[in-house]
């Protein structure tokens, strides 16, 4: 856990104290966690080096399973990023006051998962040194080049979306360190002489609104183009007209679930219980539930046509999914990724912090499984002759996937060493505007303390 008392220059404002919690010198727990996560990431890097030497077959790829786990990881991690950005943007644009303590965490999650997702664009290549040819000899009739353009544009927007609300906080943060120190000067530079004047607030508000408006269609375009890398082929299971919205909803669904997990993790790690209440997480779970129902419907719609007509390869693919070799994984996704999380949120007795966290964990894990089910069965289906191919995990692909997963908390911990975990400016601005962003005090029943499984209904 973070030692809140450690700081360069003590500050009296409790909000500032909490917001800067991660920026203080880390305690033993911090370094133990960072060390463990770094070890996993390092193991993944070594596995990748081994893969570069031995080829993609060392990751389980073969001439039938030509796309497999890395493509699923790429779609999963970029999708996770989408949730953080869009949830934050929509909450900003709709002026939801309760968003204030969550936006920084959601935006940071969006950036971190996007960077990890983009790494898989390299990892899934057998000859990654040739990627520069994508830039110098682009083929504009290929979905891959538009993927590249969309993702880099989205990365730019995500960085700006994280930076703009940071400007006032950077100025505040510059005062936390010795005047003239490197860190104070760095924060002062990024703080752009913020004094909170009306002109500055207006400029910042307009700029943030423009970027928030742009990041939603940008995120939609990223996942649509990503889906078209599959859908514009003639393979059964991929060649689907609803793949673009299907991917977008999946990204939002899993992304919102990850935001819930990261917010809950930050709440506990940085001691944000006074600002982030279980109610925040339950509200996020309502968004997740709505997306989950939509995703379940789209899954049904996607499979109905092929399954009902039952013709040729498309029918065989559906049969493999619902009753064949992929049936255990498919039904695990249906129950674990859709039905159980929906029930956990729908039933009042389980609609508490613990229930929401279990639901979000199931969604993130099951949606990764779903991406594998999208990629592998279609890729391994024989279209010319012979039997179904197969993809088997290898220690290399598993280590790289684990490293990417460990990279999320690692990068977030490192990022929050440099930026405040809470958007102090927004929280204060909302209070000044006469709205309340809900603290533990404001929603906690008199004489009661928050407990882990405190049902939200009690609030």
């Amino acid at each position: 856990m973070v030692n809140v008392s450690q700081s360069a220059i003590p500050v009296k404002n409790p909000l500032e104290n909490i917001a800067r919690a991660g920026m203080n010198r880390g305690g033993r727990a911090f370094w133990v966690v960072v060390g463990a996560l770094s070890a996993v990431v390092l193991a993944g890097v070594l596995a990748w080096v081994s893969q570069l030497q031995d080829g993609l077959s060392s990751a389980g790829y073969n001439n039938q399973a030509f796309w497999a786990i890395y493509e699923a990881n790429l779609v999963t991690f970029i999708g996770l990023s989408y949730g953080g950005a869009v949830v934050s943007a929509i909450l900003r644009l709709t002026g939801a006051a309760w968003r204030a303590p969550l936006t920084r965490i959601a935006e940071a999650t969006a950036l971190v998962t996007l960077l990890i997702g983009m790494a898989f664009a390299l990892i899934h290549l057998g000859r990654p040194e040739r990627i520069w040819e994508l830039v110098v000899t682009p083929n504009f009739s290929s979905a891959i080049i538009w993927d590249f353009i969309a993702v880099t544009t989205y990365l730019l927007a995500t960085v700006i979306f994280l930076y703009l609300p940071l400007i006032p906080d950077m100025k505040i943060a510059s005062g936390w360190f010795e005047k003239g120190s490197r860190r104070a000067r760095f924060y002062s530079l990024l703080g752009r002489n913020w004094r909170g004047t009306f002109k500055q607030r207006t400029l910042l508000h307009r700029s943030m609104t423009v970027v928030a408006l742009m990041i939603i269609p940008l995120a939609v375009s990223v996942h649509s183009v990503l889906s078209w890398a599959f859908a514009l082929t003639s393979r059964p299971g991929w060649d689907s007209s609803i793949f673009a919205p299907y991917f977008v909803v999946a990204a939002l669904y899993s992304g919102t679930a990850l935001v819930i997990l990261v917010v809950a993790g930050c709440r506990r790690w940085f001691h944000l219980e006074d600002y982030i209440t279980p109610r925040h997480l339950v509200r996020l779970s309502y968004i997740m539930t709505a997306l989950g129902v939509t995703y379940l419907y789209l899954t049904f719609a996607d499979m109905l046509n092929a399954g009902y007509v039952g013709e040729g390869n498309a029918g065989a693919l559906v049969l493999q999914l619902v009753a064949g070799q992929y049936a255990p994984a498919f039904w695990m996704f249906v129950f674990g990724g859709c039905l159980v999380p929906l029930l956990l949120i729908a039933i009042p007795q389980t609609r508490n912090l613990r229930g929401v966290l279990v639901a979000a964990t199931l969604v993130v894990a099951s949606l990764w499984l779903k991406r594998l089910l999208i990629v592998v069965p279609s890729a391994t289906q024989p279209l010319i002759a012979g039997g179904w191919g197969a993809y088997h995990f290898t220690w290399i692909s598993v280590l790289i996937t684990l490293a990417a997963t460990a990279g999320i908390p690692l990068l977030l911990l490192l990022l929050f060493r440099f930026i405040p975990v809470l958007s102090m400016f927004e929280m204060e601005a909302i209070e000044e505007a006469g709205e309340r962003f809900e603290t533990a005090e404001s929603v906690r029943p008199a004489g009661k303390k928050w407990v882990l499984n405190d049902p939200v209904r009690q609030t």
């Binding site: 073969n62 001439n63 039938q64 504009f140 009739s141 538009w146 353009i149 544009t153 730019l156 927007a157 700006i160 930076y163 703009l164 400007i167 752009r192 002489n193 913020w194 004094r195 909170g196 004047t197 009306f198 002109k199 500055q200 607030r201 207006t202 400029l203 910042l204 508000h205 700029s207 423009v210 970027v211 742009m214 940008l218 024989p382 010319i384 002759a385 012979g386 039997g387 191919g389 000044e432 505007a433």
Partner: protein, 207 residues
């Protein structure tokens, strides 16, 4: 007997002999048949390889009316090293033929395969040939109907991306440049402005 009756007897005997011979071959197929194969390039018919298989019963009598499958050894496809290219039915001399159009030049290995169909052992034979002329398997789709639209669409999309980048960089550039100036240009009683709710008219107080 007149000549007509003699002629009719000869024809009848000939027909009976033919039927008898055919039946004999069919019965022979139940033994241990042999299959031989040859491949030659037909230079007169463009790119064409004539695959010929000869099927004979254990007693060396030709087997007619049986289907022989011809296969080509390939490495490209995942279904297996041997891909079916065609088939032919054996004639009275036990010969089946198939004209294969090669899609690449160089040494190619063919197989002929006869399956008795009654659970008996499949009989195969192999032949290789160095193919000199081939026809590509790629079918030119011809001019795309929307090719022009596609080119224009690419230009439109690239312009759209450029506009998005310009807006995003413009927003950051504007904030980066104007933010410090907005602080410097602040009124002395700026604190009063700080709490001015957005969208409300601003009334500047005299200093």
């Amino acid at each position: 007997m007149n000549k007509g009756i003699w002629r009719a007897c000869v024809v009848t005997l000939f027909l009976m002999a033919s039927v008898f011979a055919t039946v004999t071959v069919v019965h022979a197929s139940a033994g241990s048949p042999t299959l031989s194969m040859s491949a030659r390039e037909d230079s007169g018919a463009g790119a064409s390889v004539v695959l010929t298989a000869k099927l004979a019963a254990a007693n060396n009598l030709p087997m007619a009316g049986d289907r022989v499958t011809f296969l080509l050894r390939v490495d490209e496809f995942a279904g297996g090293p041997l891909e079916t290219v065609g088939s032919g039915v054996t004639d009275g001399s036990g010969t089946a033929q198939f004209n294969y159009t090669p899609t690449w030049t160089g040494k190619q290995d063919f197989s002929a395969r006869w399956d008795p169909g009654d659970g008996g052992a499949v009989v195969t034979a192999n032949a290789s040939i160095d193919v000199a002329s081939a026809v590509t398997a790629y079918n030119d789709p011809g001019p795309a109907v929307l090719a022009g639209v596609g080119r224009d669409l690419v230009v439109v999309l690239l312009i759209l991306v450029a506009v998005v980048w310009l807006i995003l960089l413009g927003v950051v550039g504007s904030v980066w440049y104007r933010m410090p100036r907005a602080a410097l240009a602040a009124e002395p009683n700026d604190d009063a402005l700080d709490i001015q709710p957005e969208g409300q008219p601003i009334e500047l107080q005299p200093t």
